[in-house]
Structures are given as structure tokens and as C-alpha cells.
């Protein structure tokens, strides 16, 4: 039976009939007016009713187009979809990634030391902790300046080569936690290289010193062509600069991180420099694993463990908190409401904190690669919407770009405003504090305007139509007390579980990504004509035409050089 047949779904559809025509402005008008500056006694205002907090996170859903009825109907839907039993299956390591026949155990990566989680009669926590210890010793050695390159000079530059989950997670986290660096982390220069065409690595290598540069090669399969071609370029660069044999360069200048020890060894990375993670960690869920090595190098092992602790706290909260208080469940279910009942299919991620600049790209992968699917777990096509299109940008920058569409375009868009209350504590420059307040003011202003439209500004309702703001764009504000490794861990785990909640309702498997496979195969076929090799394949006229144009342009280039 399709989820659409469930009574709870039908009830929500019916409820949506009235809610679709209800403006957020009117919902807020039902609040008793309160004076922000006086200590008004608790009333049933929307903020009190629809904001939920846990430890360092506060989620305000009051600017969502919901009422208490909406929430109780969503709760029924989650029950009808057996969300609780799915949660149980996730945490216990059940084989819920059915198309790849394995569990999804990113939550195990942040279990406390001494925990137990038995998979096929084996406690995986022992493996995880052993790997963390190995990672710890690498971080300590590099931070102490005792990881030596071929010349004997200490390594002071790290280049992370990886793509997708092996790039976005560490890159995003390193930027987000830039204020949490110990001195040893600050001294390291850290770079990320992902692009297949070599444009990043070519520019970077020009500026680096081969004697003091260490490459981290991160690839779950260790066959990712994007990553391995960058890694080969790096090794060639080291070789030309040093004249030293490969075996020695592999030993002193590369760390491999992969689920395939065998493939790492084949490439030449010695066992001591290998960090392992497991096939039950999806790439986009892997920053908690050894893939997080660049994060640990940046914020230290203590900071990294704090991040794991924050994520684990969110796991426990997700597992145990009732619907009414459960942050990821509410975030996920309200998303379902927007997508499937209010028909909103665009989702903007808007951090009001420059340190979270890579969060939109990270969430694009997390959400769209997990839930961008149209087949359910039973192998049938589904006839309802799943993951919307996600995009985003640092809020204040986006204000000068796509906010025009949010305020006056024809599309309904749901937004996540993400910001931290406290920043620049202990900084001497008071102007920075001022800048933070300015950013907060903008965050509050934009979500308010999006929700209420020009009714928020007195007198604007008589303005000409091109100056009018219709409002009624729903948003959630995620308010972080202060961006620390701990609260950051909570934040990312919040989104991971939100994605899981939605996958349960949509009946899709969020842990596979078959939609990225065929393109790789096709590229292998198309490489042949580009390398002037024979191929039996016949392409469509567009592809053939483009291929011929490229080859003839390249031939001209060669002739002119001769």
C-alpha cells in the first residue's frame, strides 16, 4: 500500500486544503501581542508553541505554515509509517541499506568508548576505537612536527584529495570550526583538491614545497577516477622534485583512507599509513570516520572527539525524545508537510555565519543524494514528491543574489536560516562583534519579511505592486548557541536524521546512490574516442557532433604549434 493511501496522509491532505490558503501573517495575528522588551507571561504565542530546543540548538518552526493540528496529524503519519521501529533498525545495525545489502552505521562512529554494538557477532566499536587511536597517533605526530618528508623536514602542509563525501564533509567542517583551532592546527596549511580536470591541483602544486607536503588520499572504494588521477599527479610532482623512488614517497608523503585496504596497498600506500573505514559508512555520512582526518588535523583530536560527542548526543535525542520535543523528527516531518502537502519543491539553505559557507553544498549532497529517488524500497515507482531541489549560500551574500526570487518570484520556497547567537567572545576588535550583530539583524529581518510580507512594514500595503512583498514563504530558524565542535556535531547529526525521517515516510532507501553510477560508465566509453582509440559504441547525433567539434578544435591547436 502506498503511503498516500494511509489515513494519516489523507487527513493531512484534507487539512492542507484549508492551510494552503492560510497566510502566515494571519497565523501570527492570532498571537496575543507581546512587548519584546517586557517580561510578558507565557502565552500561547506561536514561538512558544512551535519552537523546540535541545542543548545548544534551538529550532523555531513558528514561521512554518503549521498549526497544532498539522503537528498532530504529522505525528500520526510518522506513527503509521513506523518511524520508531525504523529508528530502532537504524541504530541497531539492521541491514536497512537493502540495495547494497548492508547496515548504515554512521551513528556507531560516534558511540562512546567502551560501548557495544554487535554486527554479525562482532563488536564494531572495537574496530572504530582502534581506528580512532591510529588516527590520533597520526595527528599527534604531524602536530608535533615529527612526520618527516623525504628530506627530513617536518610536514607543514596537508592536501586532502577526495571527492563527494571525502571532500565536502571535511572541507565544510574545517571551515566551520576555524575558530576552534589549537596552535598546532593553526600552523598547518590545509588544502582540498577534488576537481577531476586537475585545475585545482595544478594551481596548488605551484605554490607548495614538495619536501613538506603530505597528501591524504580519501576514497571509499579507492577506485574513484577523480581522486586517483589527482593522486597520481601529486606523486609525479613529488617524484620530479625529489628524484626519490616511489616506495619512499608513498611512505613519507601519503596517507590513504579507504574501505579497501587491498586497493590502498596496490596503489603503494604502506599499511602504517592506511586508515580504514567500512562499507557500512556512506560517503556522505563519513566525516565522523577516518575521512575526518583533515578535521582532526585542524581542530585537534580533542576537538574532533567533541564533535563526535555532540553528534552522539543528537543520536540519543533522536532515539529517545518524544515527537513533540524531537528536533530531527519535527524538522523532517515539517519538510514532508511543505513538500507533499503544500507543494513546495525548492529548499534554500541560508547560513548567517560565514564559517558555514560550505554547509549548503554539504547539505545538497546529504539530502539530494540520499532522498533524490523515485523508487520505493519495494522496487516500485512512487507517485509523490520526494527530495526537493536544495541550494543555498551565505545569507547576507544571497540577499544580493537570489533573495529577489524568494520575495517577489512566483515559486514557493522553504528556507532554513542557520545562525549562532554568540560569536567573537574574547576578540579584541569590537567592530567584529558589531558585524555579528548586523548579520543577526539581517537574519531576523529576512525570515520575518519572507513570512509576513509587507504587512511587516507599516504603510507598505499601499505601495505599487512592484514594491509589494507577498510573504507566506515558510522557514525554520536553527539557532546555535555558539558554533563549537560539540554544537557543530549536533547540527550535522540533526540534518542526517532529518533526512532519515523523510526517507522513512517516502519509503526510499536513503543510503544508496545508484543514480551516480551510469554516468561513470558512459564517461569511460566516451574517453576512448577522445583518446583516439577505437570504440564500437554508437552515440546520438548531439554527442557525436560535439565529439567531432572537440577533436577538430584540438587538432587545429596541435597544427598551429607545429
Amino acid at each position: 500500500m502506498s503511503v498516500k493511501e494511509l489515513p494519516a496522509w489523507k487527513a493531512l491532505e484534507q487539512h492542507a486544503g484549508t492551510m494552503r490558503t492560510t497566510h502566515l501573517r494571519d497565523l501570527f495575528l492570532q498571537d496575543t501581542p507581546i512587548d519584546a522588551l517586557t517580561d510578558t507571561p507565557k502565552t500561547n504565542n506561536r514561538f512558544d508553541t512551535f519552537s523546540v530546543s535541545n542543548e545548544s540548538l534551538l529550532l523555531d518552526f513558528s514561521k512554518q505554515r503549521i498549526t497544532q493540528t498539522t503537528l498532530s496529524l504529522l505525528k500520526n503519519l510518522s506513527k503509521d509509517c513506523q518511524l520508531d521501529s525504523w529508528k530502532e533498525r537504524l541504530f541497531s545495525g539492521d541491514t536497512i541499506n537493502t540495495s547494497e545489502n548492508r547496515p548504515a552505521l554512521h551513528t556507531a562512529l560516534r558511540l562512546p568508548y567502551n560501548s557495544q554494538l554487535s554486527i554479525n557477532n562482532h563488536n564494531v566499536v572495537t574496530d572504530i576505537q582502534a581506528n580512532l587511536a591510529h588516527m590520533s597517533s597520526m595527528v599527534a605526530r604531524i602536530h608535533a612536527g615529527q612526520w618527516r618528508g623525504y628530506s627530513g623536514l617536518p610536514i607543514d602542509t596537508i592536501v586532502n584529495i577526495g571527492v563527494g563525501g571525502s571532500d565536502l564533509g571535511p572541507l565544510m567542517a574545517c571551515k566551520a570550526l576555524s575558530d576552534s583551532q589549537p596552535p598546532a592546527g593553526q600552523q598547518l596549511k590545509l588544502h582540498f583538491v577534488s576537481s577531476m580536470d586537475g585545475s585545482q591541483i595544478a594551481n596548488l602544486l605551484d605554490q607548495l614545497s614538495p619536501t613538506t607536503t603530505l597528501f591524504i588520499i580519501s576514497s571509499k572504494s579507492f577506485t574513484t577516477i577523480d581522486t586517483l588521477s589527482n593522486a597520481n599527479t601529486a606523486r609525479q610532482w613529488l617524484k620530479s622534485a625529489s628524484g626519490v623512488k616511489d616506495e619512499l614517497l608513498n611512505r613519507r608523503h601519503f596517507i590513504g583512507i579507504s574501505a579497501s585496504l587491498e586497493k590502498m596497498s596496490q596503489w603503494g600506500i604502506p599499511e602504517k599509513s592506511q586508515l580504514n573505514f567500512w562499507d557500512w559508512t556512506g560517503g556522505r555520512y563519513s566525516l565522523w570516520s577516518a575521512i575526518g582526518l583533515p578535521i582532526a588535523l585542524r581542530i585537534g583530536m580533542t576537538g574532533f572527539k567533541e564533535m563526535l560527542r555532540g553528534a552522539h548526543a543528537m543520536d540519543e535525542h533522536f532515539k529517545n525524545a518524544p515527537f513533540e520535543e524531537n528536533l530531527p523528527v519535527q524538522l523532517g516531518m515539517i519538510g514532508i508537510w511543505n513538500i507533499n502537502f503544500l507543494n513546495i519543491h525548492a529548499h534554500a539553505i541560508l547560513p548567517y555565519d560565514g564559517r558555514l559557507s560550505h554547509l549548503p553544498a554539504y547539505l545538497e549532497q546529504l539530502e539530494m543524494e540520499s532522498n533524490g529517488k523515485s523508487a520505493n524500497r519495494q522496487g516500485s515507482s512512487i507517485d509523490y514528491h520526494t527530495c526537493p531541489i536544495l541550494w543555498g549560500e551565505i545569507g547576507p551574500n544571497a540577499q544580493h543574489a537570489f533573495y529577489q526570487l524568494l520575495h517577489q518570484g512566483t515559486e514557493s520556497v522553504m528556507c532554513d536560516f542557520i545562525t549562532s547567537a554568540r560569536r567573537y567572545d574574547g576578540f579584541e576588535n569590537s567592530e567584529l562583534q558589531q558585524q555579528h550583530q548586523l548579520s543577526l539583524a539581517n537574519c531576523l529581518a529576512q525570515s520575518r519579511l519572507l513570512a509576513l510580507g509587507d504587512s511587516a512594514i507599516e504603510g507598505n500595503d499601499t505601495a505599487p505592486i512592484h514594491k509589494r512583498y507577498r510573504g507566506n514563504q515558510p522557514s525554520t530558524t536553527v539557532l546555535i548557541n555558539e558554533l563549537t565542535p560539540y554544537s557543530f556535531g549536533q547540527l550535522i547529526a540533526l540534518y542526517e536524521h532529518k533526512v532519515f525521517v523523510q526517507s522513512v515516510i517516502w519509503e526510499v532507501n536513503p543510503f544508496d546512490q545508484w543514480g551516480v553510477e551510469l554516468g561513470k560508465k558512459m564517461a569511460t566509453e566516451l574517453l576512448k574516442p577522445l583518446l583516439n582509440e577505437d570504440t564500437p559504441a554508437i552515440f546520438d547525433s548531439s554527442t557525436t557532433g560535439l565529439l567531432n567539434s572537440i577533436l577538430s578544435l584540438q587538432a587545429q591547436d596541435k597544427e598551429s604549434k607545429q
Binding site: Q146, Y150, G152, L248
Partner: protein, 422 residues
């Protein structure tokens, strides 16, 4: 004359001893409960050749005594020989003296607080009453402190007060037998001059080390180049010995002070670069070993001859040996150390470390060694018994961080030899 010495640096003790020996009544300020001067000195200062005996002797003769700071402030001739970081203490001291309101007070500042700091101290005093602070640039190098004070060839005095200059000259009279020049200038100029000299020396060492590293890559012997450089009368031979970097607290701190001043006021990285390169240079012997053994030295036995930052001193302050021992132990090598003076200091730092061993006999450190690293050019290492060395070592490999040995001789005896820049 009654003279008070403030500060517990090597300069303070050496100055106290020499002034007492030349007939003054010298009082060292000591507000602690410690009554034994050698204990108060601490081992790194009491190891200074001749100093311990001189101080004990002068205490016995009552020419030298301890005094409480409250009583010391009542006297009118003072030396301030403090650590560069103790400027606040110096200010408090001068304020205490100023409070007495005495006429004709002389304070001789020998500390490297930086440029302009003597003038800051002067401001606390009343120049109308001939309460004056002068700056006397000390020329002490560790290991030769007493000799440096006894017979300086040149002195730089920063003073703008005639009475104070006259008084200082007369105090220094007993030490003027070989004095070729006494330069008098403003205190600020004298402080700057002192910094400039130290900076110049650092630049020379930095330069010759850079040349040595280059010479190595071009397959040229730096020792030949060094001779040629020194023969040029515009350059001369001093401070042109390539090696594995300089250490020592005073020298390094003074240069750091000048480097900071240069980068702050002039955005110049000249001396910062010298300091950074010097830190790298300290590990040069390690790097040669590392490359020789193709980046894997774990479980190897590495002998080190000489760990003090220079011969004649037991001090390990900023010594290259410390960086090398850390690097070796981090790579799981075993380290076997000999030093004529500094073993006790090494044992304090590394006592009980499973990979660090110390030896009273230099040859014993070589048993089963996979390499010998010479890091301090103590005279007793200059002509070793090579046969015995070779017999004891597992691999006859010598890395000479001070270019002390004859490369030709060692190579002819079957040793593998690496120097600095040869």
C-alpha cells in the same frame, strides 16, 4: 665602594664576583630563604668556568654578601643585570630606589630590555639630584664570562649625565688594562648598538649556513669558500663557521628582540628569516642521517657527541641537540649521548626515557652505533682514536654538525662522512 647587584643572570653573578675581587663591597639582592650562593645560582650558571670558586671565595672574604631589597634601595650605586623579560621588576626596583630621595645615585643597567628602556627607567628618577641610569652594554659570552669582564677591549656606555659617566668610568678602571676604546653615546644609541652587533653576528652565521647548504648541492666544499671569505679584509674570519645552528638563551633572545622590532617597525623579515632558518639548520644532522637511511631509522642506535649549545658551557638552552634528540626518539631510534659537561642536564630532561642513554666515556656511547652525530665542538672531540671508533661502531657513519673532523682522513679510514656544506 658599596655596590648593589640586582638580578640573578650570569652577567649579574660574574659582575658581582669581579667587582668584589677588585676591592668593592658588593651586595647581591636576595629576598629568598636560600643562603648558599651556588644553590641560588642554579646549575646552568654555576657551571660557568671559574665562577663558582670566585663567588665562594668572595663570600668567604665578606667582599660579597646577600642583602634584602628593602635595605639595598638605601645604597647609591646599583647594577641592574636582569633577564630581558623582567622589565617590570626593574621598574619597581628603580621606583624603590627613587623613593629614598638620595642625591647622587648611579644605576648601571646591563639588561637587554630593548631600545629606549634605559630612558624609561631614567624617567622614574630625579636627574636634578644626579639620580642617573646609564646603559653599559655587556659583552659576555657564556663559557668566557669572567675573562670578558676582566679584560674587555672595547666598551660601549650609554650616558648623558657627566657625573654618571665619570662614576662609571672609575668603577671600570680596574678592568681597563686592555681597553682600546670606550664609546660614550646616548643610552638609546648604546642599546641599539648592542642589538645591532648581535644581529650582525646572527646574519653572518645565517649567511654562512645558507652558503654551506648551497655548497653541498653544488658539490663544493664550504671550508674552502670560508677561507676565501675570511681572507678578505672587509669580511674577516669571525663568526663564519658553518654548522648546525646557534643556540644559547641570551643570544637567541636578543636576536628575537631585534627581529620583532624590525618586523613591527619596518615590516622587515630579514632577521625572522635568519631565526627560522637557524631552527631548520639545527636539524640538519638529523636530515642527513634520515636521508642516509632512506627515511627509516627506527631501532637504530645513534650516538651523539656534544649536547650543550656550545663548548665550554653545560647549558642546553635552545641547543640543536634538543631538537635532534626529539626527532630521533620520535622516529623510534635509540640515542646514546656523551658530553663532557651537560650530561646531568640531559638526564634531568630525559631521565628514565627508554630510548635515551647517557655515557661518561665518549667511546662507550659508540658501541653498536649505526651513526655518530657530532653536535658540539668540544676540544676533546677534535682528535679521537678513529680505530677505536670504527671497532665499536656497527656502521662507520659520522655526521659532523660542526665540521670538526678531517673529512679526508675519516674517508680514508673507511668512514662515511657528512659535514655541513662539504
Amino acid at each position: 665602594m658599596k655596590i648593589v647587584i640586582w638580578g640573578l643572570e650570569l652577567t649579574a653573578w660574574a659582575t658581582a664576583g669581579m667587582l668584589a675581587q677588585s676591592g668593592n663591597d658588593v651586595f647581591i639582592v636576595n629576598d629568598t630563604q636560600i643562603t648558599d650562593p651556588v644553590t641560588l645560582m642554579g646549575s646552568s650558571i654555576s657551571n660557568e668556568p671559574g665562577l663558582k670558586d670566585l663567588i665562594n671565595q668572595q663570600f668567604d672574604k665578606n667582599n660579597l654578601q646577600f642583602i634584602q631589597s628593602s635595605s639595598a634601595a638605601l645604597l647609591s650605586t646599583h647594577f641592574i643585570s636582569m633577564n630581558p623579560a623582567e622589565f617590570e621588576h626593574a621598574q619597581n626596583t628603580v621606583s624603590q630606589i627613587a623613593k629614598q630621595g638620595l642625591e647622587k645615585v648611579l644605576i648601571i643597567n646591563q639588561s637587554h630590555f630593548g631600545v629606549g628602556y634605559t630612558d624609561k627607567l631614567q624617567k622614574i628618577l630625579d636627574i636634578e639630584k644626579d639620580q642617573a641610569v646609564v646603559y653599559l652594554a655587556e659583552n659576555i659570552s657564556e663559557g668566557e664570562a669572567l675573562k670578558n669582564i676582566r679584560k674587555p677591549t672595547s666598551l660601549t656606555l650609554g650616558s648623558t649625565n657627566e657625573w654618571a659617566s665619570m662614576m662609571t668610568r672609575s668603577l671600570l678602571r680596574p678592568f681597563s688594562s686592555q681597553l682600546e676604546q670606550l664609546l660614550v653615546m646616548t643610552p638609546k644609541e648604546a642599546e641599539f648598538a648592542k642589538l645591532s652587533i648581535t644581529g650582525m653576528l646572527a646574519l653572518r652565521i645565517g649567511y654562512i649556513n645558507e652558503l654551506a647548504n648551497l655548497a653541498e648541492q653544488l658539490d663544493v666544499d664550504i671550508e674552502v669558500i670560508k677561507q676565501s671569505l675570511g681572507a678578505d679584509p672587509r669580511i674577516g674570519h669571525h663568526y663564519l663557521a658553518p654548522g648546525c645552528g646557534f643556540g644559547g638563551n641570551t643570544f637567541s633572545q636578543t636576536i628575537k628582540g631585534l627581529a620583532n622590532l624590525l618586523s613591527e617597525k619596518r615590516q622587515s623579515q630579514l632577521l625572522d628569516t635568519v631565526l627560522q632558518e637557524n631552527e631548520k639548520q639545527k636539524e640538519q644532522p638529523f636530515r642527513k642521517l634520515w636521508r642516509h637511511y632512506e627515511c627509516d631509522i627506527h631501532n637504530l642506535n645513534i650516538a651523539i657527541w656534544g649536547v650543550s649549545f656550545k663548548p665550554g658551557s653545560a647549558a642546553l638552552d635552545s641547543a640543536p641537540s634538543l631538537k635532534i634528540i626529539s626527532a630521533l626518539t620520535a622516529q623510534q631510534a635509540n640515542v646514546h649521548i656523551h658530553d663532557p659537561e651537560a650530561l646531568e642536564n640531559i638526564e634531568k630532561l630525559y631521565g628514565g626515557h627508554p630510548q635515551v642513554h647517557t655515557y661518561r666515556d665518549k667511546y662507550e656511547a659508540l658501541n653498536n652505533a649505526d651513526a655518530l652525530l657530532l653536535l658540539t665542538e668540544w676540544p676533546e672531540y677534535a682528535s679521537p682514536d678513529c680505530e677505536e671508533m670504527k671497532e665499536r661502531m656497527l656502521t662507520p657513519l659520522i655526521i659532523d654538525g660542526r665540521n670538526l673532523f678531517s673529512k679526508e682522513l675519516l674517508e680514508s679510514l673507511g668512514f662515511t662522512y657528512y659535514g655541513i656544506g662539504r
